[in-house]
Subunit: 343 residues, 2 copies
């Protein structure tokens, strides 16, 4: 391993380390003045995602500015539906919107899948290569994808939703078609992650952002089998699964091929360990709103979290950092973690 | 007890009953054609809430149309902030909006509280009286209020939000002021529920709709003490606490003075029982989206739920019924439950 800082990789391998690695979901984004400046010059988020040199630049910004122990490629989970042939837009302050949503067997039949879909995303692989070059082996680079259910939810619902009741309705009314669509998404995600790994990412993370809308039964039927396929078929780098709010499924994650399990701020390490067993590395889970508190309180919470989780832990928030979080507070958090020691 | 159908009350008393009672959160609403017709003639939701005879009419509609075992007074949790002096509006298809939000100690100081606030809500008590008259003792009438944290969240945030990050920020940045505001809300809720009981409601339910946004620590500090006060000080009728998504706090509910604990669809009766112990009655917890499925599947799910919960159970959904749920499906659900028998 030629990385100067391989703390994240050693932690994911289960090796003894001197302190937990720290990075933040959404660390490349609006919390950084460098990001806001660059973003202000562009027509939109999608332009940034699709321009490899710019994506690489914002991916590296938090490594320079915050000193985090990993970079995560600046991209979007919805590039997969786009590559499968379902176009989406990002509307400022509203979120993603699919002008056409999936309603019929015919539409599912016509979706591009697997390597054919993944081959449309060369701008992502180019961004990975450019980032690797820019990082110059300082820290590992994380690649990511949306989990099949979360991508399915957007493709049926057409945009963000409090309940995703249309997507869930589809699961209840069309279980067979749902499995067909989930399977095509899964194949595409697998090929996409393989190409990202080829391009140089050192770790992959799967985001199941809407896990917490499902019942335990729906999660077992429509999510676990696809998460298992991805875990089994994507090999060569360590993998992290972050299924937000899916506390009820933690016991099932035990048998999946992911070294790391992301936790939201509602799941204590004790509860998570009881469900998942001893073999997984946890990632998380500070409440992002804690970073609105004063420095003393942030320091206390950071130290407390490290003590509570013990070793085999990657420090992160329980969700993406909120865009209005003061930069100084993020630095206080990161620096506090970096001053900790297990010994 | 002179009620013709006192199944809900007997269940909440822990008595042996022939089958579980059934009602649905949001049963008085858009799923009913009678409601949509009446609503179409009015200027808005708030007009309906504030006109006792109309509120009574829509409260009784589901008893007539669905044959549910309880009515729940048609109202809104945000009448309490309104009565405390914080005006709100309901914007069609968007949700509630407070033109002014709470930011300062001075504003909290000036809020009306307790009996003074509760006295502004005579239209609610009049609606309860009118409903009792219209129901003519057929089924019990449930009164409700928002839990202190949920009302606090709206008063700070100013409207709906995916994260309520401004409200949570206030908890982290201003813990003392937060306690002051929560205490004033609590006192108002208590006096409000007392007056509702005086007016004739047979059961009260507390909705902590945004419970699932907090950490276990925040919930212990900013919610449990106020839920406890309400449980201890509101007496005379059975009480149900529904803290959506607060699986992590279930063990703490064991010691609170509520006979019933509402569950969302992610919490299985087995898990809930392990946390809460034997002394509480559970209410819930079908996924509202299950009511989009076909009749055979709904029947199966309804029977399955009754079998899984066993006795000491009030049948309901795990959240309010969604407005586009087909009426026939709701009837299939209610009728299936009513055909069950514990013996």
């Amino acid at each position: 391993m030629s990385l100067q800082n391989d703390l994240l990789l050693r932690t994911l391998k289960g090796e003894e380390v001197e302190r937990p690695p720290v990075w933040l979901m959404r660390q490349a984004g609006r919390i950084l003045p460098q990001y806001r400046e660059l973003r202000g010059k562009l027509s939109g988020f999608i332009e940034l995602v699709q321009t490899p040199d710019l994506a690489a630049e914002v991916t590296i910004q938090p490594v320079d500015e915050l000193g985090v122990d990993a970079a995560i490629i600046f991209s979007d989970i919805l590039v997969i539906p786009e590559a499968m042939g379902l176009h989406y837009e990002l509307i400022e302050k509203v979120g993603p919107r699919f002008p056409t949503t999936i309603k019929t067997a015919q539409q599912i039949e016509e979706l591009i899948e697997g390597a054919d879909a993944a081959s449309h995303l060369s701008y992502v692989y180019d961004a990975v290569s450019a980032t690797k070059k820019g990082l110059n082996d300082r820290v590992p680079l994380i690649g990511f994808a949306g989990a099949p259910w979360t991508l399915f939810a957007y493709m049926i619902e057409g945009g963000g939703s409090k309940t995703f009741s249309q997507a869930k309705k589809f699961l209840y009314q069309n279980p067979k078609l749902s499995h067909q669509l989930l399977s095509k998404i899964t194949t595409s995600v697998i090929e996409y992650l393989k190409l990202k790994i080829n391009a140089g990412v050192n770790v992959v993370q799967l985001f199941d952002s809407w896990a917490d809308l499902l019942t335990p039964e729906l999660y077992s039927e429509f999510c676990i089998p696809y998460l298992k396929r991805i875990g089994d078929e994507v090999t060569g780098v360590p993998k992290i699964l972050f299924a937000k709010g899916a506390w009820f499924a933690l016991a099932q994650f035990q048998d999946l091929n992911y070294e790391g399990i992301g936790l939201d701020w509602k799941t204590s390490p004790k509860v998570a360990r009881e469900h998942v067993g001893e073999n997984k590395i946890f990632q998380g889970n500070l409440d992002p709103c804690m970073l609105y508190a004063d420095a003393a309180r942030i320091e206390h919470a950071a130290k407390n979290m490290v003590a509570e989780f013990g070793s085999s832990h990657i420090v992160n928030l329980g969700h993406g950092v909120y865009p209005d979080t003061p930069l100084e507070n993020v630095k206080t958090f990161v620096n506090t973690i970096k001053s900790q020691s297990y010994t």
